[in-house]
């Protein structure tokens, strides 16, 4: 009897928490279709804010910057992270404690410390050498820095899940290391690579603090634009652009999840 009341109470609590978790997002989505200017009341449905987005040059530039930043940084991080993930696997019997610390550092460092360190570094470096002016370039560098660990860990865990005798077999099958990489390794870790790419992409689009401190005057991304608009006083357009971002991130995250599940399934089958 008592158990049933407990279970009922917990079920109610679960649904209340879900409302708590989704309410802020739902409000943003709902108000993006609001016909009036008011941020406090809905007067009717319309798509006018979405129409306005298309005509807003700043938003379009910010959108472009976000895409360029996410794609460039994810590609670079994929290459570097993949190498490091494989190196960690191949040499896992050595004492690589320092490498693990190094790889976890970008994950555990508070965003604000991360962003400010990079900013101080880039500013002084630019003063001394004239290179690395704050802009998309410095942002790409910063993003790659926090993406590398995630790529490396995903690739590493994929390799660990493989049967070690596969590597021996590949050695017998393919004569040159290059052939081994092209015909054996890359196809085998493809799910991990795709999952890592989408995770990096999502992380990049999601990031605000690190981008904010490494950005230049003309390299604002969508989160930075939204931040500025909020600070200046809310314009209803923000709801529309935020809704689009919620949708895009949800799709990217779903794809990443799908591939990571595939990754796990195939790993289960092999073990």
């Amino acid at each position: 009897m008592r158990k049933r009341t407990l279970k009922r109470g917990l079920t109610a609590f679960w649904w209340i928490t879900l409302v708590f978790l989704y309410l802020p997002l739902a409000v943003v989505v709902l108000f993006s279709f609001n016909a009036s200017n008011s941020a406090a009341s809905m007067t009717g449905l319309s798509l006018r804010w979405y129409h306005q987005l298309l005509g807003n040059e700043q938003i379009m530039t910010a959108f472009g910057n976000t895409l360029v930043l996410a794609i460039c940084s994810s590609v670079i991080a994929l290459v570097i992270g993949c190498l490091i993930g494989y190196g960690m696997y191949r040499h896992r019997h050595r004492k690589l404690g320092w490498l693990i610390v190094l790889i976890y550092l970008p994950i555990v460092l508070p965003d604000i410390v991360f962003g400010i360190s990079e900013m101080a570094f880039f500013v002084q470096f630019h003063r001394l050498t004239g290179l690395l002016q704050p802009g998309l370039g410095t942002m790409i560098i910063a993003h790659v820095t926090f993406q590398i660990p995630f790529v490396a860990l995903i690739v590493y865990s994929r390799f660990v899940g493989l049967d070690p005798t596969l590597f021996e077999a590949a050695k017998d099958l393919y004569a040159t290391p290059v052939k081994r990489v092209v015909h054996f390794m890359l196809p085998t870790i493809k799910p991990a690579l795709i999952s890592a790419f989408f995770l990096s992409f999502t992380l990049s689009v999601d990031d605000f603090v690190i981008s904010f401190f490494t950005a230049g005057p003309e390299s604002a991304t969508l989160p930075i634009y939204i931040w500025g608009a909020i600070k200046k006083g809310v314009s209803p357009e923000i709801n529309a652009i935020a809704t689009l971002m919620i949708g895009a991130v949800a799709i990217a995250a779903a794809i990443s999840l799908l591939f990571s599940r595939k990754n796990q399934h195939s790993r289960k089958r092999q073990s």
């Binding site: 609590f13 570097i80 191949r90 976890y104 994950i107 508070p110 360190s117 919620i246 991130v249 949800a250």
Partner: protein, 307 residues
């Protein structure tokens, strides 16, 4: 030449090749992180010990001025503004972490009592909101808590706030934002702990006629403690350094350490002071990491929890 020496030569050649392989695969990433993160953070630490120059840029000589300023020693004597900010950060972190535990604990337990096929989906439902941009999520709360919204009106009728004030900006809004932001970080490790729960202990307690509360504290709670502690580290450390939430939901009177640090850099006013604040966060982070390692050893594979 004996076969033995050939074998030795072969091995040493192999070792050279292995070392070269290690260098080729690991060096680019390791160098990248060292150049673009380790060196900058070391530089930041050095800045904390320099003096504030024109335009807020650091200069020699070395001094401890920035730490004194953080503790409240100003040009015109005692000005505790920075100290208040520091204490507020600690207090907000404490309250938010406590509230997150109170919400996440029953939630994680509830998920484990549901059918196995639903559990991953339920966990996903808890995590998905945190995938959207933090600025957008916080903006959502601004919409919900602003003056004139149903929530603010309700709080006004109940007498929690004075008329036309709205629930935001306020310290309360910051706490709420923190709880919202960090809930998933607590649910995941707690869920992992509950899933591994040894129910035999609970049954033993019941067989011995232990009251439910006693059975909980002696048979359930100790088993979930590693997950709980991991969750606390995952929530408290980033909450202490939070920037976006207090900036948007707090207004000027609810500043936290993250805002203090950021202001010193973005306004170009005082880099050394900002760097000193950043060092406090670094210390907090390393204490957290150390605690995490110890918990991880007891939990067995605590590193999975980090991601």
């Amino acid at each position: 030449m004996s076969t033995n020496t050939i074998a030795v030569m072969g091995r040493s050649q192999g070792m050279v090749r292995e070392a070269r392989h290690l260098l080729f695969t690991v060096a680019p990433g390791a160098l990248w992180i060292v150049i673009f993160l380790v060196l900058p953070s070391l530089y930041l630490m050095a800045v904390a010990f320099m003096t504030n120059g024109p335009y807020g840029l650091p200069q020699m000589p070395l001094s401890l001025n920035s730490f004194k300023q953080l503790a409240g020693v100003g040009f015109l004597g005692w000005s505790p503004g920075n100290l208040y900010t520091l204490l507020r950060s600690l207090w907000q972190t404490l309250v938010a972490t406590g509230l997150v535990v109170l919400v996440a604990y029953p939630l994680a337990y509830y998920i484990t009592t549901c059918r196995a096929k639903w559990r991953p989906i339920m966990l996903l439902l808890v995590v998905v909101p945190s995938w959207t941009n933090q600025v957008i999520r916080t903006f959502g709360w601004m919409n919900l808590l602003a003056p004139g919204t149903p929530l603010s009106n309700a709080a006004e009728v109940l007498g929690f706030i004075s008329p036309n004030m709205g629930l935001y900006p306020s310290n309360f809004a910051v706490t709420l934002g923190l709880v919202y932001n960090f809930l998933p970080f607590m649910v995941l490790p707690l869920y992992a702990a509950f899933e591994k729960l040894d129910t035999a202990q609970v049954e033993a307690a019941q067989d011995l006629y232990a009251k439910p509360t006693r059975a909980f504290w002696h048979a359930v709670f100790p088993q979930t403690l590693p997950g709980l502690l991991a969750g606390i580290v995952l929530v408290a450390i980033p909450a202490f350094g939070m920037y976006v939430i207090p900036e948007l939901l707090g207004g000027g009177k609810a500043m936290m350490l993250g805002n203090l640090v950021a202001t010193q850099f973005s306004g170009g006013s005082n880099w050394p002071l900002g760097a000193a604040g950043a060092i406090l966060m670094l210390i907090a982070t390393f204490i957290g990491l150390f605690a995490m390692r110890r918990i991880g050893k007891r939990l067995g594979g605590g590193e999975e929890v980090v991601i």
